[in-house]
């Protein structure tokens, strides 16, 4: 008695499809239809009749409903060697005894105990041309000609279910309008050529001459100048802790790190940089991209992020210094050094990106979009 209990529970636990209620006496009245898992794997092959019939067994009385569980690849090859179990009452398609139609599917009904299920394996589907005599009183359902009328409809439903899964995948992807694609493509090619013809050769020579440690120091200094912008945007979003961290970082790195040449805030205080920009802040408040925009030098952007980029300039100390105290060429020199220094760490990235893309323009647009989506989502945490 106890052993049987354990056995039943064991089987139940191993069959996620069965609810506990099935063991109740009431459930014994219900018809349980099972089919071998491998036959389910053939679902995708809608040309095979028997598969369609199985499908019709799964949802025989409900006309193909979009709400039925979608078929996923993963479910087919599930580690459970047990079949799916469907509990609702079956349509009045039950014949007792008789001969199965070739290509028909035979299912046992009235199998309330899950333990019996495993013994059913292999009995789910009959080969197309076999005809089987069934003398067994244990009732057998034969789905024959009558269900074949639904065939086409069912095939369609199988397809649309697949599509439902696919829709799910597609929904994850963000999209952006690209009404000025011709302009963007020109800019994309401009940036591409700028990189290969100018930026890359210059940065290569630069990184050859300037030791890496110095390049890191320059990078730190430029990055430190952006701390006020990060701090303000963190404040706008509002992320108080990140705001405080950026404030501490800016003061600490400027003083102890001598104008931000080092990053002692990270190494001594263990406070990491918390990126934030105006485009992200705008996104945080629900403002969409508008449309895609490729900017010369800056690369992929959007109307929103372009405005953000312009706004961020007002939070950049150099903007105020250069407008009053520096000549145009000095300002240009500072920005050029920043770009070259930055590129010197990234040589090869763009090449490998381009190599792995089928359509680099589309790939970059999508990567920009996904990346910014992540930035905005992170600002909400």
């Amino acid at each position: 008695m106890k052993l049987i209990h354990i056995l039943i529970i064991t089987v139940l636990v191993l069959c996620p499809g069965i609810s506990m209620a099935d063991t109740s006496p009431a459930a014994e009245q219900q018809q349980v239809v099972s089919f071998q898992e491998t036959s389910a794997a053939a679902f995708s092959n809608s040309s095979s009749q028997s598969n369609i019939l199985i499908r019709s067994l799964v949802e025989p009385h409900t006309s193909p409903s979009p709400s039925s569980p979608p078929l996923k690849g993963g479910e087919i090859n599930s580690p459970f060697p047990l079949p799916e179990i469907i509990t609702p009452p079956l349509p009045p398609l039950i014949l007792r005894g008789g001969e199965a139609e070739p290509g028909g599917v035979i299912f046992k009904e009235g199998v309330p105990k899950a333990g019996v299920l495993s013994s059913l394996e292999g009995e789910g589907v009959l080969p197309m041309n076999s005809s089987v005599n069934i003398q067994n009183e244990e009732a057998v359902i034969i789905l024959a000609q009558s269900t074949r009328n639904d065939e086409e409809e069912i095939t369609e439903s199988a397809l649309s279910e697949n599509n439902d899964v696919f829709e799910e995948y597609e929904e994850e992807a963000a999209r952006i309008a690209d009404p000025i694609a011709p302009f963007n493509k020109v800019m994309f090619h401009f940036n591409d050529k700028l990189y290969f013809w100018l930026l890359k050769p210059v940065a290569s020579v630069y990184s050859y001459i300037i030791p890496e440690d110095f390049r890191f120091i320059f990078g730190n200094a430029y990055d430190n100048l952006k701390a006020p912008g990060r701090m303000l945007n963190n404040l706008f979003q509002p992320r108080p802790k990140a705001t405080g961290n950026e404030l501490i970082r800016f003061v600490f790195n400027s003083v102890i790190g001598v104008g931000g040449l080092g990053d002692p805030a990270k190494h001594v205080l263990n406070i990491k940089k918390q990126d934030a920009d105006l485009g992200q802040t705008l996104g945080h408040y629900g403002i969409g991209h508008g449309f895609y925009l490729v900017l010369p030098l800056f690369g992929p952007s959007s109307l929103r992020d372009g405005i953000g980029l312009a706004g961020d300039r007002f939070m950049y100390p150099l903007t105020y210094v250069s407008s009053s105290d520096l000549t145009f060429s000095q300002t240009a020199g500072i920005y050029t050094l920043e770009k070259v220094n930055d590129t010197s760490f990234k040589i090869g990235d763009y090449e490998s990106f381009k190599e792995s893309a089928i359509d680099p323009y589309v790939s970059m647009r999508d990567a920009f979009l996904q990346h910014r989506k992540k930035d905005v989502e992170e600002s909400k945490k």
Binding site: G74, S78, P79, G219, S363, D366, K374
Partner: protein
Amino acid sequence: MRKNMTKIIFILLLLLPASAFAGAPLDTVKGHADKVLDILRDPALKADSANNLRKEKIRAIAAKMFDFSELSKRTLARNWNKLSSEQQSEFVMLYESLLEDAYANKIMSFTDEKIVFNKEIPLTDKTTEVQSVVMRRNDEIPIYYRVILKDGTWRVYDVVIEGVSLINNYRTQFREILANKSPESLLETLRKKTGKS
């Protein structure tokens, strides 16, 4: 009482999801990624003459690490059914070749960096996200592997680098091609790209 306890423990053991026996997703992905890095770092394989050998070795690991048919289906999504079954299997093959190069390329730039696998987050009952971070001197790059449990093993079906999902990115590209062109011309493009025309 003691008998009951044994029973309860027995039942609790059975309640453990199958994934517990399949090996943790994180360990699986980490094991594969470490092997790829070992190959990329191997000084004997660094020379240009060893290029083919290196690729062959990475290919062998990638075949175990990734679930290319799942990847293909999820990438093409709605368009998957537009391909005939022959086209589908050719697509899987070409896409596999493309991705092996792309992944090797991407991870190649991280060979000198430390890669830390820090956590796994279950997405559904059969999918998990394994999160890793590439520690660079001046920044950190998050790389997330999305894995699916099939036949008792965890296989990668998506790689998300800095929020950019590989399959989403390719899906957008393929969608644009299939919007105006036939599946055959998509395959032709892929053949050219992977040098298998």
